[in-house]
Amino acid sequence: MKQLLLANEAVARGLYEAGVTVVSSYPGTPSTEITETASKYEEIYTEWAPNEKVALEVAATSAIAGARSFCAMKHVGLNVAADPLFTMSYIGVNAGFVIAVADDPGMHSSQNEQDSRYYAQASKILMLEPSDSQEAKDFTKKAYELSEEFDTPVILRLSTRVSHSQSLTSLEDRVNVPLREYIKNPQKNVMMPAMARVKHGLVEQRIAKQKEYAFGSDLNQMSIKNSKIGFISSGIAFQYALEALPDASYLKLGIVYPISEELLKKFAASVEFIYVIEELEPIIENACLACGIKVVGKELLPVTGEYSVELIRNRIFGDKPFSYMDGYDMAKIPKRPPVMCPGCPHRGLFHVLKKLKLTVTGDIGCYTLGALEPLSSMDTSICMGSGVSSLHGFNKARGDDYMKKCVGVIGDSTFIHSGITGLIDIVYNKGVGTVIILDNSITGMTGHQNNPLNGLDISNNPAKKIDLALLAKSIGIDRVRIIDPFNIEDSTNVIREEVNAMEPSLIIARRPCALLKTVKYKGLVEVNRDKCTKCRACMSIGCPAISFKNNQIEINASLCNGCGLCINVCKFGALNKKEEE
């Protein structure tokens, strides 16, 4: 039976079929659906961990303890999990252990475009890369066999276009894999210098064996249909290349680390001219050059952004696609960047931060959209957790007085992920400053995952809920305030008071995400034309439902969700709730 599945769903199906029993992940686009789908299989224990490092350690040790296990993350998540990753390469496994990492060429939903294949090289861990959903499932299952055969974790590399494309996938039954025996073995599982020195040598031997395996493995596919022109590729880029160059010979790498030089040489011996077509970094290209094979890659195709069929055709053949828009100035089309949803609780808070003209150190989440016009209230955003530690950076660079016009913002899930450590740094190192946790009761951006602050686990069962106020007190913060970001007056007063207090302070801005099913605002907003002075103050909050048309303020009824924030912003009482019929 074949089903239309996202590659992420296919990976989860692969976990099920491979007999995996433990999954621990932190959500991150484009990887999130793997773990969400896995959580629907009763046979698999699944959890959202506080961050990727914890997730990887949990899953890795489940493998040491004898269970086939798994964790998934986005590319930048692997930065967080890099520490255990590198040492797990030395330790290896008992039962199979697979890590899925989803890269985001083109940065659809990310802050950088790093290439995770470098992690495979750097940590010396076998990496497989599927190019559609069927392969995603097949490679996942194969990864468990290889993990156990070579005593290594295996990384499954995905990318946005693979993860979020559906294609037909055949389903098979689950194989129940019994728990492997756990035998205490510090030489293998305790990485101190004496043990690690031995293990590093073994890792090098392992790579040599894997290269031999890669030479003959059907995870790599070679097709010689043309002796003049050929290409080497992997992942989604292979699909683009195959469509752009249907008559060329090709070598499709399913094993992207380690790359078998013998295989590259075999292909090069059959084809005169070779293109290397790989998104992001020149990893296959460098492997070719290192063994003396002449190829054309990054001199023709970019390191930045996504590839496409038309890009490859254009760079190789000079083709230009047909367009109905020829000659039209596309710059005249207003861009449509993402915006905070109507009813978003973050909108109220950023409105206040803008009004107070504060320097805002930001973080990663829906609220990063507060950096865009018209709210324009974010000064920095680096990575998960940086909202808190960046505030301390401003403090130590510019002095305590500067903290009167500075706040750090961070989401609830992000705070648990890696904001706590930054907050401890502020307290311990005698910092001052105000951190605002935007508590919307959910992990929002990645599509609503529960977290340790909302009292529910991955399966919506009750879980312990961290009390943020108590947590703050216990690490030494005496000033903790709770505000409703839609109460503009109170929020303004509280933030003003807290930034002026010369000690660490925590504000919890609490209002649930407007997209939660439990959130229902009653009645839509309407404009009282007699009272409206057309001052456009209501437009400063950047609600997509409010616009100025035909010389008057208009509320788009199909977008308004009745949250009423704009009513609080209007000084003239010109915005009201429509009476319910």
């Binding site: 993402p338 016009e373 997509p544």
Partner: protein
């Protein structure tokens, strides 16, 4: 045969369900199918574009520029933005609904006022439809996607029964009746 359909709209308009619906209908017809979706940040009110391809053998899930057989636009400005995906002679079905993007809301830029006329002049096979009004009449503004798919279905080689079967499978149980009504209204829409 490969059929390539681009669906463009504004995050939150239901483009994801529309692409899944086409994917399901094509699967029921035993075609090879690939559907490319958008998740994450762009879903938050941004410009969203998804791709559906079906036929004997689909390779790239992403449709090359200038090669789409059909462009279904959920919003006028998005029709204009993504019209370059259409192949020569391709079919454009666009909702007449306008949603102001932030540069227009903040009055930095103007919403082009001649989109319907402009695209009608350039594209022979061009159809605008007030899908929002039809959806509201069918019971909910949320059913815009079913109206547009209904309109497109009439032009496709996949039979109406198959579309309805797919709708029954894909639409959330509570909304099946509403979506069928909206689909029918789109299917039977005629100027």
């Amino acid at each position: 045969m490969i059929k390539s359909i681009v669906i463009a709209g504004v995050g939150g308009q239901g483009t994801l369900l529309a692409s899944r619906l086409i994917g399901e209908a094509a699967t029921l017809k035993n075609y090879d199918v690939k559907v490319s979706e958008v998740h994450g940040m762009a879903q938050r009110g941004g410009s969203v574009i998804t791709y559906v391809r079906y036929g004997d053998k689909v390779i790239s899930p992403i449709i090359p520029l200038g090669e789409a057989d059909v462009l279904i636009a959920f919003e006028q400005l998005e029709a204009l933005r993504w019209a370059n995906y259409l192949k020569k002679g391709g079919l454009l079905i666009s909702n007449t609904q306008k949603i102001d993007p932030m540069p227009v809301v903040t009055t930095k830029m103007e919403y082009p006022d001649d989109i319907v006329e402009f695209l009608n002049n350039r594209i022979d096979n061009c159809h605008f439809i007030d899908a929002l009004e039809i959806a509201v009449k069918s019971g909910s503004s949320k059913a815009v996607n079913s109206v547009l798919i209904g309109r497109m279905a009439r032009e496709s080689e996949i039979e109406k029964e198959v579309w309805l079967q797919a709708l029954n499978k894909i639409a959330p149980a509570k909304f099946i009746e509403l979506n069928i009504k909206a689909f029918e209204a789109g299917y039977n829409y005629w100027i």
